[in-house]
Amino acid sequence: MLAGSRPGVGKAATSRRLAPLCSPSPGKSKEAEIKRINKELANIRSKFKGDKALDGYSKKKYVCKLLFIFLLGHDIDFGHMEAVNLLSSNRYTEKQIGYLFISVLVNSNSELIRLINNAIKNDLASRNPTFMGLALHCIANVGSREMAEAFAGEVPKILVAGDTMDSVKQSAALCLLRLYRTSPDLVPMGDWTSRVVHLLNDQHLGVVTAATSLITTLAQKNPEEFKTSVSLAVSRLSRIVTSASTDLQDYTYYFVPAPWLSVKLLRLLQCYPPPEDPAVRGRLTECLETILNKAQEPPKSKKVQHSNAKNAVLFEAISLIIHHDSEPNLLVRACNQLGQFLQHRETNLRYLALESMCTLASSEFSHEAVKTHIDTVINALKTERDVSVRQRAVDLLYAMCDRSNAQQIVAEMLSYLETADYSIREEIVLKVAILAEKYAVDYAWYVDTILNLIRIAGDYVSEEVWYRVIQIVINRDDVQGYAAKTVFEALQAPACHENLVKVGGYILGEFGNLIAGDPRSSPLVQFNLLHSKFHLCSVPTRALLLSTYIKFVNLFPEVKPTIQDVLRGDSQLRNADVELQQRAVEYLRLSTVASTDILATVLEEMPPFPERESSILAKLKKKKGPSTVTDLEDTKRERSVDVNGGPEPAPASASAAVGPSPAVPACCDGLGNNLLLFCSLMFVCKNNGVLFENQLLQIGLKSEFRQNLGRMFIFYGNKTSTQFLNFTPTPVPRCGLDSLTRTHLNLQTKPVDPTVDGGAQVQQVVNIECVSDFTEAPVLNIQFRYGGTFQNVSVQLPITLNKFFQPTEMSSQDFFQRWKQLSNPQQEVQNIFKAKHPMDTEITKAKIIGFGSALLEEVDPNPANFVGAGIIHTKTSQTGCLLRLEPNLQAQMYRLTLRTSKETVSQRLCELLSQQF
């Protein structure tokens, strides 16, 4: 097959017709081809425009020629009308070519679409299965919204009608699937859905195959409606996997019974959790075991098609096992099976095994089993010839990494980085940086790792990475001296990467004093070292170094004259770059006029950075698409907060304002950009972040609240390169069950521009007024069209009652007096719960403050307890609230008590705050 050119090609009429147009002989030039084509196009155009009406055959002939010319890669801008005319021909061939032209060269010209739809309507009504097939194929191929409007009601009827032929049913099922993908809102669910589900029982395996695809797509959006498909799919699957290879006749593919259908059924089952009915569940487990067993049997054929089909089913079964994530036995078997594939001689299987194991690594049942393959994976990283396979190995190492093997994995990735393909370097850098941070037990190791990263792949170290190392060093007292010493040593290298100069400049500016005692790194030596790099650096780095110099003036008065000389130099004071010149002028002035005290205040050490999710992680998510990364993060639940222990939510203050090394404001940006998925829980104690992200859309939030009012800025980012159309985000308050008439929250907003360009961001401002206390958070509904399909996203807006919480400071005495006043049983709500996060005092304090309450120190006689007070402001009332949180470290439990004058408020605040620890 496809063995090469052979004589006697001209079998079909088209070849005779078209041969003169296309000469495969290489001697003819491209220009000659274009010339001939243009001549032919002109000829066809004149035929179409000519006085003489063309008969169907000639019309077909010319339309076919146009298609051919199009397929050769030339643009075609006419002939559509003639093609549409062909649709209403009674002759099959003419109709067929007409439909083909429409399918290949769709034009969104609405007048034509109406004509096309008319022709389709006639063919659908013709009861001629061949014509119906053509019409359905055309709808499925074009799948435009106009077609959905015209046929979304009709196609389901054809699909479930008792007298429809099998082949037409198949086409109708997939046609409907295409329409549903394009315009889900136009496909009405109804009686037909249950009949579609029963197609899973159909005698004709082709019908079952097509129907399974349709049901899978529909079930993803309407799981309840298609729930009954689970047991039917299981029994169908069971019949297939237990059948002998000859039972299914032509549906057996290289000795594998119905592989396509099996894969689709397994895919359908992945729309649902494990079946609840024990009988169904048992039967499914049997199926999965049978599939795993078959993998161990000797192959029935040596053909690659046999093993591919068999393994396609196996991999899909493993996906289902991972999706259910409930049968440890199956998970471990799956892992062992993949382990075998890791060493298979087929590159494809090694690739897929690495990919599949990546998801397996995130299951708690199989994480350990995956880890046993570490040596094989590292070996793959070193020896695989194909970069896409090596990429998978990197992904898997990242996924299987935990505290026990982090040092080994990071070391291997670093050494691989030296020879890694350029295309994947940046990603590896990010991964190394994340792992080093996440699993750092020893921060000296962390600093070393990042400096190594910069040394090996400085060009690929993005800003996020070097910002992050600085944030961490600033937040960890214990590593600052080591960091200063290490960067100082690294800077000794004659040629060091500019990123190192940046990190070095920043760290020495902050912590150079920690190593200044050693004469080998005295202030002057430090300064000279940095300044020796100055002239080789770009403007932003030089600006950063100037900030370092002014920090030196503060840290080391003895080098002040040297630095003033440098600042005074023409190359600084009169630098052509405005930023550099301004810094030089201002810093020089600052060093001369300011007293030591002022200088010390202005250039005070950077305060710790607030606890936030790593910006590098955000970057990796952006690179890889959120789904892959988050899953791993979520399931592993290894928190990285302890790394940047700084709890103070105060942003960079004094020194950032005056000593504006470019890193500082940028740093804050880098941090502010953190990614938090879906979880409005995360927003209870904070006001900014990413609310939602999928492949298409990212929603970011910034909000501020004062008393009973608030303002929220919602940023919608189009992550694709395609425009979003009809973009309509609508925030809707939800009423609690208690009162359907009264609104607790007023939301006011203006519509945003309905078109969002690819890569662009639009902003929406929501003004919020809290009328009375509430429990249900409002919902943000977003609708838009992306590439012809209608998208619908709903997310909870994190507007919770505590946002209207104002802190109140009070003395111990006041506190207890009020506490006693609020002693009615309805006023107190208490909750005892298990700690979901490490019990860290500083983090807890930050969370209570973030929650909105004042944190009252020295109120509770037991210093381990936390006490807070504040007022909930609503339009109708103000409610004073007192809270007390008692941690029990041994039991890893908390007891939270809330007392307010209003029961509903106590209740809601207690719920909200309990979820945070």
């Binding site: 496809l2 061949t130 194929h137 395996l205 032509d250 494809n348």
Partner: protein, 160 residues
Amino acid sequence: MQFMLLFSRQGKLRLQKWYVPLSDKEKKKITRELVQTVLARKPKMCSFLEWRDLKIVYKRYASLYFCCAIEDQDNELITLEIIHRYVELLDKYFGSVCELDIIFNFEKAYFILDEFLLGGEVQETSKKNVLKAIEQADLLQEKTENMFHSKSFIGSKKAY
């Protein structure tokens, strides 16, 4: 499946089938990029690669590359066999198919593909059933051709 492309070793596009709505400009861009990427790969490399947010599955048969773009949850191996089954269908229909068959009988190549895959999903996996459908269509074609132009050009060639 989002689309399927057939192209020659010289990078000439021979057949394109798009299952998602895209503008002509985007189609051209995607085609150009993918053809380059796939042609640059060495034999023996694995048949799958990540490309944008899609997975590409490709296989070379003689001078032609068959290249499918599937989504994240789709199964790579079964897609590889979709390609193979399509090649088998072409082969059976044309009787040892070659690139020129697909160039000159492009409409047949499309019709066979539509019978096999519709809307990006497998419609009918049975080789017999797909070819039966195409044969029936050919018979209709022959009838009309005979009636109106008395030209027979398919009758001589039975697929099986």
